[in-house]
């Protein structure tokens, strides 16, 4: 039995998977911005993030794709889930109170931003680099993270520490008032 795949069909498979990822990303973004229930919007955000992680795989950055899944899907989406559970956002009732022009204005603004950015990108002529210094493998990313960008790396860890402390302080203030 011959199980080897003919080389002609591999690019078709690859493009099919890529097109599927594009559809998944756009569908997730649509769900995240249009869903009435906030839990569904979170689900759309997660779907969109998974699609983007797939795009990162196609861009030869497997480490960043895994970090996308780990940080965005694993941490950021769960944080927003906690915010939903703690604050009960009922957008069903809110829809009646929002100004009537908000929807059309939002479509106009979002469409204009997309059109301007996309048309500028399509029209521009980019120059490819003369030579690549390295291949951008995980090893090289780690090496330059701890040599060239070590200062920024440390600063980001301080930013994260301050964000955790600040979040605790802001969320705690006012709590004692209710209990007393």
């Amino acid at each position: 039995m011959n199980l080897s795949i003919s080389p002609d069909i591999v690019p078709i498979f690859r493009e099919g998977i890529f097109f599927g990822l594009l559809i998944v990303t756009v569908f997730g973004a649509l769900l995240a911005t249009l869903a009435k229930r906030m839990t569904r919007a979170i689900l759309g955000l997660v779907v969109c993030f998974i699609g983007i992680a797939g795009l990162y795989f196609f861009l030869n950055s497997h480490f960043v794709a895994l970090m996308q899944l780990l940080i965005y899907v694993g941490a950021v989406a769960i944080t927003i889930c906690f915010a939903i559970m703690l604050a009960q956002p009922d957008e069903m009732k809110m829809a009646a109170k929002t100004p009537a022009l908000a929807g059309p204005f939002a479509i106009l603004l979002g469409g204009a931003v997309t059109w301007v950015l996309a048309s500028t990108a399509m029209k521009a002529t980019w120059m490819a680099p003369a030579l690549k210094v390295n291949e951008g493998t995980v090893k090289q990313v780690g090496a330059s993270l701890l040599t060239t960008y070590s200062m920024v790396f440390e600063l980001v860890s301080i930013v994260l520490l301050l964000a955790i402390l600040g979040a605790l302080v802001i969320a705690r203030s006012g709590r004692d008032k209710i209990e007393c």
């Binding site: 969109c48 861009l59 956002p89 931003v113 490819a128 951008g136």
Partner: protein, 106 residues
Amino acid sequence: MLTLSTQLNTYLFIGAMLFGFGVFGLVRRPSLIGMLIAAELVLCGASVNFMAFNRFLAPDPTVGQIITLFIMAIAAAEAAIVMSIIIAIYRNYKSIETEDLADLQG
């Protein structure tokens, strides 16, 4: 044969589209959590742009990946801070609708 996955323009277009979706959601959503979700989409659009230029045009392909990692760290910090602000606002106003968060009449 059409090869979308090896063209810079595809990724730039999807990045612009995510940015546009984020702006659309920021304007449209009547609640703070919806706006937070839309802001995450804006950050993702920026990341996709960085990664696309990193893969196709940058002489050193580690730079874009590192900047994307930093954007992820900033997005995580931003989500934590916004969540605590939302909780504090909900405790004071018993609501997270953007229409209700006004003390002054006007």
